[in-house]
């Protein structure tokens, strides 16, 4: 119970400040735990926060529609690819059981994989860590002076502690990424490889030696195919959105329903099918939990008045 001298208006104002800070400011684990402490203090705090949050999130649907009307035509093919690649899902890593500690025996190799919807963190003894997104497989090999990760499929996020005496190399599709102390993300999709650098510096060597090696700076994204590599700059905020899966979220920005459904399908065995072309082209903004297909279909229904049905174990979205 709230103390009697605290009015609902005061609590409301506090709840709004929390919610605003969470949405508009850099949000750290310390902030989150301070918020939890405040929420746990009184049922009145929780209720005020839930109520404002529910209304604030309802307003997201309006934003989605407005975007549709006023969408800026800045979606070059490349940018769209980057955005699409951004989404990801995941069940947050639950407890220590999901972590695996690697002891670099040398020379040794180990395979690590995640199932659809799974998210796994691999901690190396030097403090580096590798997070695997849904449906991903890597091989990790350690030898004196060199650690090698081969991305066999899927997407991973790397936080590498740079050790001058040891190289950290990622290989995928014959391309090679050499770390120079850094945080980055790599996604492999058939023949296409995408590398996004958040922090530090890495060097990218294409499988095709005619393609010049690239030294990447933070914010750079490389899209590489067998014989090409394109580099583009992406705002930090977009890079962070692309890593939403690390906390179990997918972030959509001017994303078409077709792309959004494909992203959800990466994380869920229960698939979404967009049954008509016009609906597939509608664009949405929003943040969803990777496993929460219902929230997505509810939004499609509420915002675009689309029909949601279930057929053969699939969720079908149509006009």
């Amino acid at each position: 119970m709230s103390s009697p001298e605290t009015t609902s208006a005061d609590i409301n104002a506090e709840a709004a400040a929390w919610l605003r800070r969470r949405h508009l400011e850099t949000w750290t684990a310390e902030n989150e735990s301070a918020l939890q402490t405040w929420l746990d203090q009184a049922m009145a705090h929780r209720i005020a926060y839930w109520r404002l949050k529910a209304a604030w999130e309802r307003a997201d649907r309006l934003a989605a529609l407005r975007r549709e009307k006023t969408a800026t035509p800045n979606s070059s093919a490349a940018l769209r690819i980057a955005k699409f690649a951004a989404a990801a899902l995941v069940l947050a890593v639950a407890g220590a059981g999901a972590y695996r500690s690697l002891t670099p025996r040398s020379p040794s190799a180990a395979l690590y994989a995640t199932a659809v919807g799974e998210h796994k963190t691999i901690r190396l003894t030097d403090g580096s860590q590798i997070e695997l997104n849904t449906d991903t497989k890597i091989r990790f090999a350690s030898a004196p002076g060199r650690q090698t990760v081969t991305l066999l499929k899927g997407e991973a996020y790397f936080q590498i502690k740079h050790t001058p005496s040891r190289l950290f190399v990622i290989e995928a599709n014959g391309h090679r990424i050499t770390d120079i102390g850094t945080t980055f993300r790599v996604r492999r999709e058939d023949a296409r490889l995408e590398v996004a650098l958040l922090d530090g510096e890495i060097r990218f060597d294409s499988a095709d030696t005619r393609v010049k090696p690239v030294t990447m700076k933070p914010g750079d994204i490389i899209i590489a195919t067998a014989h090409s590599a394109a580099v583009m700059q992406t705002p930090e905020r977009d890079l962070k959105d692309q890593l939403g899966w690390r906390s179990g979220m997918i972030v959509f920005k001017h994303t078409t329903l077709r792309e959004a459904a494909a992203e959800f399908n990466r994380y869920n065995t229960h698939k979404i099918l967009i049954a008509d072309a016009a609906a597939a082209k509608l664009t949405i903004n929003g943040t969803f939990q990777t496993g929460d297909v219902a929230a997505f279909t509810d939004a499609a229904h509420a915002v675009f008045a689309l029909r949601i049905t279930t057929r053969n174990g699939q969720t079908v979205i149509s006009h």
Binding site: S2, A16, I47, L52, A59
Partner: protein, 178 residues
């Protein structure tokens, strides 16, 4: 019941009743300045009860809680005429206030949101739209609007509270029946 399950239940089952609850409280409580506090107290009682056992359906329980709360308050004031209490006791029928028709909610949702945004004070609306639609950070909104970040925070906080009141406390204005 976990906090997140309680939140989900509260948002899905209780918040949609807020307009009815507010109407009930305004009808039976004289001082309008105390209505928000009463609502908060009703929600606390409802959620504390739901932690033990979820009342299903929610509506009679929420309105019953409001009724009991008002009776408690009146008794505590000890200045209330007996017939007022008797009158309240007769209000068991309150559970028959019309509820939201869920089938029309989705259709009206967008219009409702649009109206709510349009009714925010202009500067407040600008800040909310830049945040919601443009996805700008507090600092960027401040630059765009040519004000301090603290002012942006005030606008956003006010917008959040106003949106919740408009979306939950007020009955939907759209009535399709003549």
């Amino acid at each position: 019941m976990s906090a997140s399950a309680l939140e989900a239940w509260f948002v899905a089952e209780v918040l949609p009743l807020e307009a009815i609850l507010m109407q009930y409280l305004r009808n039976h409580w004289r001082d309008p300045s105390e209505i928000d506090d009463l609502r908060q107290e009703v929600y606390i009682r409802v959620c504390e009860a739901a932690q033990r056992e979820v009342p299903d359906p929610a509506k009679p329980f929420v309105l019953g809680t409001a009724r009991n709360l008002i009776i408690d308050r009146i008794r505590r004031q000890q200045i209330v005429a007996i017939e007022k209490v008797a009158d309240l006791d007769a209000l068991g029928i309150a559970a028959d206030y019309p509820g939201p028709d869920r089938s029309v909610i989705a259709r009206d949702e967008l219009r409702r949101l649009q109206q709510a945004i349009d009714r925010l004070p202009p500067r407040c609306r600008e800040a909310v739209v830049l945040c919601k639609v443009e996805g700008l950070t507090g600092k960027q909104i401040a630059q765009r609007m040519g004000v301090s970040e603290a002012t942006v925070s005030e606008h956003i906080d006010k917008g959040m509270c106003a949106l919740a009141d408009m979306l939950y406390s007020e009955p939907p204005e759209i009535r399709r029946t003549p």
